[in-house]
Symmetry: C2
Subunit: 398 residues, 2 copies
């Protein structure tokens, strides 16, 4: 497997475009389209929030059919908590785009991101559709990646090529997300495209596993979105067939995990107001569930995240967060290390301030927590909590 | 029942003092002592954090005996994650104070609050003890309340008088807490004193109920402390006997809930960096557990708390947080009102920006969430998340 340039058009047989429809006042691109040249298998993972945006309701139904041709995404408006009218808005936009592409409406998947509770500006998006379809191309993947952003500072793309029996297939993707990013579900928007040939059921299984191992192990602020969606399209153009239970499934899973993992890490690096990333690795837990709960408690603790922001050598907060989680362990056995250097052991803090400050001041901080209570592991990627996060979110709607 | 002036010495037969031992560099008071003139029944609730500070370990053991004479509290150092040496430090300080008071060591309860991972300055505290005992008095309750503060801006005291069959008893208390304040446990330090006559087992039962209804329904930052402790002392000086299952138990419980409720609200008002308080009231849940989980999810959401900081009319975030909780409900039935004005109903946001901004700009914001799924209720008090919270906690140890 190797990294290759590009994003959603890195695999064969995909086109993309991104334009401004005027939803964002900044006039930055806000509508993206990804099209497969042939009908593609669909895998999809959606938010577990009980309050679901209109496009989530529509796409959940369509993804169940198993195949699709295109994905339309707008930023600047989440089309969530907009009632029955919001559902009609989603369907009207989707109908216009499907007509312009000459595909059945059921073959178009949709997603929205942005402010909750505001109606979708349907006419603006409809007016932008001819320009969007006219600009479709392999080289426009970056414009599409830019058009799905909200508070993100940078577009997020990744792609790999891998082989099965000497035959190459490709997996690429784009994602957005910087705030309202929480563990335990698909926490953002993401489109993964591949030219591998794979059945919808197996594609969904692989996507669920990749989501569990990547997007579900990140947190910016512990808040669960109403619009989270991860789509995967597989059009088979490489001729490489992926079969369940074979080496091809493992290769394909590795490729999808690599792409979603790279995108997940970029979401944390680009977390609202973030200046540092923390990789929280838990070992020695009694179960996978406890290991993950422990990693999550540390990664979501405002006191740990503000300590990281200030590189403040207050490492006792790490142990306090571990102790607050549901993980069972003996505090006397607990060991915590930062960059391999022990800071908590034998029920006591084991480092001086100057050393701890140096360890915490790096742009990427690795914390290893050994509970010495079992063999299970867990992991979370998180970022620091800064005054900029507060500034961004205290005035987001205005 | 009526509010009366004072705090831990409002009930008969209690003395208090607060002095500076030089633990805090600011030279503000940092050691407090509360003494009952007669042996008192003890009730106590401690942190559920698996990582427990040394004074918590000591006091848990002593509180089980059922009676005590005094409580010694220091601020500026939590004596947590200090290993076996920290336990010895706690015992040395406790021994000196008990000797100075002429009481058995087992009759002294202790608590500490402040930085985690630093050794207790034992000699400084020992040198301060003679001055502390010399200053004991009924009028020194405020100095004691000041001596237990860390990042708090204001001391927190409350007291009530109530009657049983025409005979008056009093309940008073003091508390500290502004950060590392989380629901679902005793989340701070608090001493409640009463001159009612009540058995230790019943006192503990009442204190647990009061903690559940007050301190466990507040959150500043969702972080669970390693040092949380609530003590209640009952010395019987009023001659009013509280008996289980009688009207006297109800009156006494009401009085304790009033005092702990007032102290809990002051902790939230004084939350680190806080400028506004939000009272989250959930009704129509399928169970008490789901109601409380829903209230907690809303009260702990960084996006809700930053929205409150900016009085930003982004009320969809309330619904997103409700949907992210474990509470089961139909999003079409969900109703959310702020100060009695409907903002979410029928699956849609129902308010304009200007109106929502006005509702959110008050110093105390009441949010009522009706899930329309059952009859259970829950409640949480929380404060906003501001840049000042980040500033305070990004450099707490330095």
């Amino acid at each position: 497997m190797q990294w290759i340039p590009g994003g959603v058009t890195a695999a064969r047989g995909y086109l993309a475009a991104g334009v401004s429809a005027g939803i964002k006042r900044s006039r930055k691109p806000d509508v993206a389209l990804v099209v497969s040249e042939a009908s593609a298998s669909v895998g999809a993972v959606f938010t577990r929030n009980r309050v679901k945006a209109a496009p989530v309701v529509v796409s959940q139904r369509r993804a169940r059919r198993g195949t699709a041709r295109a994905v339309l995404i707008n930023s600047g408006c989440a089309n969530c908590l907009t009632g029955a009218a919001g559902l009609q808005d989603a369907l009207r936009v989707s109908r216009s785009a499907a007509t312009a592409l000459g595909i059945p409406e059921q073959e178009l998947l949709i997603a929205s991101t942005g402010l909750i509770g505001r109606r979708l500006p349907v006419a603006r998006i409809q007016r932008a559709i001819p320009g969007l379809t006219a600009r479709l191309g392999r080289s426009s993947h970056r414009l599409a990646a830019e058009a799905i952003l909200t508070t993100d500072r940078l577009p997020k793309e990744a792609a790999v090529a891998a082989t099965v029996n000497g035959h190459t297939f490709r997996v690429g993707g784009m994602a957005k997300g910087a705030g309202m990013i929480a563990p335990s579900m698909a926490t953002m928007l993401c489109v993964v495209t591949t030219d591998a040939d794979i059945a919808p059921a197996l594609l969904t299984k692989v996507l669920q596993r990749a989501t569990t191992e990547t997007f579900n192990q990140i947190s910016v602020d512990g808040d669960m979105s109403t619009n989270d969606t991860v789509f995967a399209l597989a059009n088979g153009r490489s001729g490489v067939r992926i079969r369940q239970g074979t080496a091809s499934e493992r290769r394909f899973t590795d490729a999808v995990v690599a792409v979603t993992g790279a995108l997940a890490k970029r979401i944390v690096q680009d977390g609202e107001g973030a200046t540092r990333v923390m990789d929280v690795q838990v070992t020695g837990a009694r179960s996978d569930r406890e290991a993950q709960a422990c990693a999550r408690q540390v990664a979501c603790s405002p006191l740990v995240k503000t300590m990281l922001a200030g590189a403040d050598p207050n490492v006792g907060r790490l142990a306090a967060a571990v102790g607050a989680s549901s993980a069972r362990f003996d505090p006397q056995q607990l060991e915590i290390a930062i960059h391999g250097r022990q800071v908590v052991a034998g029920g006591a803090v084991r480092t001086d301030k100057a050393a701890a400050r140096t360890l915490l001041a790096r742009p990427e901080v690795t914390v290893r927590i050994n509970l010495h209570a079992g063999r299970a592991c867990g992991r979370m990627l998180t970022c620091d909590l800064t005054a900029d996060y507060v500034r961004i979110n205290a005035g987001y709607s205005t």
